[in-house]
């Protein structure tokens, strides 16, 4: 396979977006995570922080230490010489979700838009085998690859200012687990009691890029019980393989 060099895009004066692809592909994501690991092992002076995403690595740097041109060149060389083969998923999580109703206010509309019943939409969503491609936006927001293309739907024209904690939603060809309440332009299908981010719990962040995920449908009663346990610091997600 020919490996294309990544694009070096300026994100203002103190960050570079190292873009490996424009679409969701596990191959691009593997290259992103591999470059991120490489930078942890062999740091470049001036780099402050990295943010791995589906398709790009955002590199925050200090322009007083290194300029855009020099850092771009350095990153391009590293990206081409980095081996992305040792990137196998190590953990699989089963995440409980209560779909529809007040837990997923967009489920019915989304199903209508996709020309299927709400139950059929849920069945397809639960059947998926997902991979954590990135953690971002607000703490614990876990973006998953592996959505059934039949469930893809454009984001809302205008994002909602408030969506609830634990929301499971779909935006474009992505699905994800949102931990904290916050704005979102995605379609809300359900809620999980699992806290992917919880201060004063060990670990604070439950999931890592590369972990795999499946969903299990639960009812409102089960949601209430597990939500209660989660509020006391229980993980409530099942770790199926380590």
């Amino acid at each position: 396979m020919t490996t294309l060099p990544p694009r070096m895009l300026p994100s203002g004066d103190s960050a570079i977006t190292v873009e490996f692809g424009r679409d969701i592909s596990d191959e691009s994501n593997r290259r992103v995570l591999a470059l991120d690991r490489r930078l942890t092992q062999t740091p470049i002076a001036g780099i402050i922080e990295t943010v791995p995403t589906y398709r790009s690595l955002l590199v925050h740097y200090d322009p007083e230490t290194i300029g855009f041109a020099a850092l771009s060149e350095h990153l391009a060389t590293l990206a081409l010489s980095t081996d992305d083969s040792e990137n196998a998923a190590k953990r699989h999580w089963r995440i409980p979700v209560c779909y529809g109703g007040e837990y997923g206010i967009d489920l019915e509309d989304a199903a209508r838009g996709l020309n299927m019943t709400p139950d059929a939409l849920v069945a397809r969503h639960v059947a998926g085998n997902y991979r954590v491609a990135m953690i971002g936006f607000t703490p614990g927001w876990s973006y998953l690859s592996g959505l059934d293309p039949a469930l893809a739907m454009p984001r809302r024209q205008a994002p909602r200012l408030h969506t609830p904690a634990g929301t499971i939603s779909v935006g474009g060809i992505q699905t994800g687990i949102q931990c904290l309440p916050g704005p979102s332009g995605w379609h809300l299908l359900g809620r999980t009691p699992v806290r992917t981010y919880q201060l004063h719990r060990e670990p604070i962040f439950l999931l890592e890029p590369g972990d795999t995920i499946s969903f299990a449908r639960i009812d409102e009663k089960e949601f209430a019980e597990r939500d209660d346990a989660a509020s006391r610091g229980d993980v409530v997600a099942e770790l199926l393989s380590a």
């Binding site: 994100s11 203002g12 004066d13 589906y54 322009p63 990135m134 607000t138 703490p139 454009p154 201060l199």
Partner: protein, 303 residues
């Protein structure tokens, strides 16, 4: 939101330029001190400020003594003012910071906006002289941006963006400033695969009205980003009041980095700039009665 004003308030009371201080939003507040006296300095957005009814100068340190009330009115010349406390704020750092992000439950001593009745443990005022700092005047120039990272998603709309007159919507907050102005249309729709964001990323959702991501932003987003506000101008944008028109101007990464370095140099040089304030009277009684430990600021009301 406005790093330069934060740094200025801190150096006036002898703190590290980027130490934790109180950011005061557009509305007012009242503060008082218990068990002693504290030295404070107020910078940033101009607003009526008074110590027991007597007008108080900005960009000048002063002592707030027990029994006095510091009253801050509604912002007039901007949005955010900064109130630094000599000796800094006592708290428990999370991820190396005391900064508040209410959504994430972060911030110390309170992981949220201050409310009436809150107290902050601080150090007593030292017997230092009051200091004054004259900052370079902020020009009403366009807000400079570096185009990208996804300007290729917009085609001719980049010109519309740069030529347009913009105002900040009243629905803006510390997470994002929503802009109102000409419609910015996408070449390939408004859905891209989410990628990383920075302070100042300008993303354009399907509505065609851009959102500038501010310091409480998420770390990633899925709307194409037409440009990024340069670091040196982000504070100036943060202080822009809703409804007051402005324009953007594109600059090269190199020019943006030169402006970054100039700003960083200015912030580093700030501790050397304050001079003795001419008319500042030192409240000797307050200093003598100051209790070295256990001084507290009392936020009487945070309107």
């Amino acid at each position: 939101m406005d790093r330069l004003s934060l740094a200025a308030s801190n150096v006036l009371v002898g703190n590290d330029p980027l130490a934790a201080a109180i950011e005061v939003g557009p509305l007012g507040a009242k503060l008082s001190v218990r068990d002693g006296a504290v030295r404070l300095a107020l910078t940033g957005a101009e607003r009526p400020a008074a110590l027991d009814g007597a007008p108080l100068a900005f960009n000048e340190s002063f002592v707030l003594s027990e029994g006095q009330v510091l009253t801050l009115g509604v912002a007039r010349g901007g949005v955010f003012s900064y109130l630094a406390i000599e000796g800094g704020v006592s708290g428990e750092p999370m991820f190396g910071s005391l900064a508040v992000n209410a959504r994430a439950g972060l911030g110390s001593p309170y992981p949220r906006t201050l409310q009436a009745g809150d107290t902050i443990a601080v150090k007593s005022a030292t017997p230092a002289v009051e200091r004054r700092l004259d900052l370079p005047e902020q020009l009403d120039a366009p807000i400079r941006v570096v185009l990208g990272p996804q300007d290729d998603e917009f085609g001719d709309a980049v010109e519309t963006f740069l030529a347009g007159e913009w105002t900040i919507s009243a629905t803006s907050d510390r997470m994002g400033y929503r802009l109102e102005g000409p419609q910015i249309s996408h070449l390939h729709g408004h859905n891209i695969v989410s990628d990383g964001t920075v302070d100042g990323s300008i993303q354009v959702p399907g509505s065609g009205q851009p959102i500038v991501l501010m310091p409480d932003r998420g770390t990633s987003g899925g709307y194409p980003k037409i440009a990024t506000v340069i670091s040196a101008d982000l504070g100036r944008l943060a202080q822009r009041q809703p409804g007051r028109p402005f324009r953007f101007q594109a600059v090269s990464v190199e020019d943006a980095q030169a402006a970054y370095r100039a700003m960083a140099k200015l912030i580093r040089s700030l501790p050397d700039l304050p001079r003795e304030a001419q008319h500042a009277a030192i409240d000797l009684d307050a200093l003598l009665s100051a209790n070295v430990a256990g001084t507290a600021i009392d936020a009487l009301t945070a309107e």
